[in-house]
């Protein structure tokens, strides 16, 4: 299982357009991708679900962990990490 720990830099957090781009990118991945907010005590949610990602309520400065497994997981995670950490 590969994972990335990313601090969200966008002013609007992982909402609105960043959330849409994040989920669209995750949806293209062949394997399951999950995301969880650090310190929330919650369970990881499906990164391909816009509603689940929004409901994490990830704001500017929050840290998230994105996980995936299988061939190409690293490339998918790098892309998602870049989206999440973009300002």
């Amino acid at each position: 299982m590969a994972e990335r720990k990313v601090t969200v830099e966008s002013e609007v957090g992982l909402h609105a357009r960043p959330a849409a781009t994040f989920v669209q990118t995750a949806t293209k991945a062949p394997m399951d991708v999950t995301v969880v907010k650090m310190g929330s005590g919650g369970t990881p949610v499906n990164a391909k679900s816009i509603l689940s990602v929004l409901a994490l309520d990830v704001r500017h400065g929050d840290t998230i962990i994105i996980s995936a497994d299988g061939d190409g997981a690293d490339s998918v995670l790098d892309q998602l990490a870049a989206i999440a950490s973009a300002t």
Partner: protein
């Protein structure tokens, strides 16, 4: 005529329209808890998935059509409709025996709660989620889609309890054949919009929202009748008569005047440069009401004087030699300005700090608007007139007029919309250069009937003899000091009432542009004496309804306009 079913209401925008009925649905009812389905789970799951996919496709298509920011918003909504978590949730509920509509309702409910609890931006997305849910449930249950169709094979007859500006933002004449509402009066949003679009409309039409979707209806916005599934011959007769009237109207061009040559300049109400094309096409001789709110509302910072100047000049330049009457900013608690400190909740914004009263509090905002107007006027050939809304006293009027004169604007006037101003018009006339009567607000204040409350719509009628008396007082007050007195409310757009206004002594009429040919034609068919007789007859009446019919009896030339 045949015996097809007829509904009646009051016609507020003339002409004839024919098309399939679309009843605007408010809330989609919640599917009953515990509702089950017959048949296979797989089929029910597919039904739900197909409905969600159709909703997503539709949102995407609308986004692509709208482009820009709307495309992002609708695209994000489409993603919600295709959410894999949601699909699993719906499928699980269906597998437990829950019918698809209820399963959709409950699956959405889980996310709804999560988003609402987060507050802020996410809580605002709840409305998006509800919209998707309701669209999906509408598809599954065969209910009509909530909202106004933004595309149609042929123009439809839009039927609603009442229409709000949000419902109608995207409508146009190619889409809507006619409007029919159960509520509302002659100054309701529907009526104003319909006249501005040049589409027939009927308000106060009982039973309209019970009409079946898609039934063909023939709407006569002049008589106020809605004929259901009419015979082709009846459709042809009414549409033919409407076309004949249009031809009469098209022939009525030139400056406004009575048949005996009493000139009544016919002016357009405009809300910015986008309305100018229609004003010119309908033969406006100038602008009688240039609303300037568009520059100030919905923005974080006040417009610069340069931006204002350019916007004003665009309108001045459209009427070289003509009159352009600019109304200074008319904002209030119901139309708040983001760049001013919040005014606090007012229990009745119509009676609060609005119009000129706001300028008394923020004189620099007035200074900036007057300077921009003076500069714009200096560079054009239009005759610039400036007037303030919501003036109650001579003292307020004098304060505004001297500020205009000091700024280099020689024609400074006031709106007459508060009864105190109408009652004291003879005093106010000495303090100002001109009057313009705002009949919508004057009626609201004279009858104590809030324009926003449909329950008192019947009182919101400028035909009430008390309103006609106030107009007569105002016109007389202006005349004794040789000042002009226009009308720039919806009353001026009613061809019958326009004749009465002239009879009361009003010197110019300003209206939404599509009404100009009607009013021009009505005036040109009567002498000023006939107008005065009609005005006297109306003022003698005991009610708005009898005032109108009494006036009509004195104005025989309306008949060949089909009025």
């Amino acid at each position: 005529m045949t015996t097809s079913v007829v509904l009646r209401g009051s016609g507020v925008s003339p002409g004839a329209g024919y098309g399939p009925v679309h009843v605007l649905v408010g809330a989609i009812p919640e599917p009953a808890p515990g509702s089950r389905y017959d048949g296979e789970a797989a089929a029910e799951r597919k039904r739900a998935a197909d409905a969600l996919e159709r909703v997503a496709d539709d949102l995407e298509a609308r986004g692509a059509k709208a482009g820009g920011a709307a495309q992002d918003v609708l695209g994000a909504q489409a993603m919600m409709a295709r959410d894999p978590g949601l699909e699993v949730g719906v499928a699980e509920l269906i597998d437990e025996g829950t019918a698809a509509p209820r399963a959709v309702f409950e699956a959405f409910g889980r996310y709804r709660e999560l988003l609402a609890a987060a507050g802020g931006y996410l809580a605002e997305r709840v409305a998006d989620l509800d919209d998707i849910r309701d669209r999906t449930i509408a598809l599954l249950t065969g209910l009509p889609m909530p909202g106004v169709p933004e595309s149609a094979a042929e123009p439809y007859v839009l039927v609603a309890k009442d229409l709000a500006p949000a419902d109608t933002a995207l409508l146009n004449k190619d889409l809507v054949a006619a409007f029919v509402t159960e509520e509302g009066g002659p100054t309701s949003h529907t009526a104003i919009l319909a006249r501005a679009m040049g589409v027939p409309a009927i308000v106060g039409c009982a039973g309209a929202t019970s009409l079946p979707q898609g039934i063909w209806a023939l709407v006569d916005g002049t008589s106020g009748s809605v004929r259901l599934s009419p015979e082709r011959a009846d459709v042809d007769t009414l549409l033919g008569a409407a076309a004949a009237r249009e031809a009469v109207l098209a022939a009525s061009m030139g400056p406004g005047a009575t048949s005996d040559g009493h000139a009544v300049p016919l002016l357009a109400n405009v809300g910015g440069a986008r309305d100018l094309e229609s004003a010119l096409a309908h033969g406006a001789e100038g602008v009688g009401l240039f609303r300037t709110e568009f520059l100030f509302l919905d923005r974080a910072e006040a417009p610069t004087e340069e931006e204002q100047e350019a916007a004003y000049r665009a309108v001045f330049d459209a009427f070289p030699g003509g009159r352009v009457v600019v109304r200074t900013l008319d904002a209030g608690a119901d139309k708040p300005l983001a760049f001013l400190p919040p005014s606090g909740e007012e229990p009745n914004p119509a009676l609060g700090e609005r119009g000129l009263r706001l300028f008394r509090k923020y004189p620099e905002m007035m200074g900036s608007q007057l300077r921009a107007l003076a500069r714009a006027a200096a560079g054009t050939q239009a005759q610039a007139y400036v007037m303030a809304p919501m003036v109650a006293t001579v003292e307020e009027a004098s304060w505004f007029v001297s500020a205009c004169h000091d700024a280099g604007l020689p024609n400074a006037g006031i709106m007459i919309e508060i009864p105190s101003a109408a009652l004291r018009a003879h005093h106010l006339a000495t303090a100002v250069d001109f009057f313009s009567i705002g009949t919508n607000d004057l009626t609201q204040y004279a009858l104590a009937a809030d324009r926003q409350v449909s329950g008192v719509a019947e009182l919101q009628d400028p035909w009430h003899p008390a309103v006609l008396d106030l107009i007569a007082l105002t016109a007389t007050g202006a005349a004794t000091t040789g000042k002009s007195c226009g009308v720039c409310g919806e009353a001026a757009a009613d061809p019958t009432l326009a004749c009465v206004l002239v009879g009361l002594g009003v010197t110019s009429l300003s209206m939404g542009s599509p009404a100009l040919p009607w009013v021009r034609a009505a005036l040109s068919r009567h002498t000023v004496t006939q107008c005065r007789t009609a005005a006297t007859a109306a003022r003698t009446a005991l009610s708005a309804t009898t005032a109108k019919s009494a006036a009509r009896n004195e104005l025989p030339g309306l008949a060949d306009l089909g009025l």
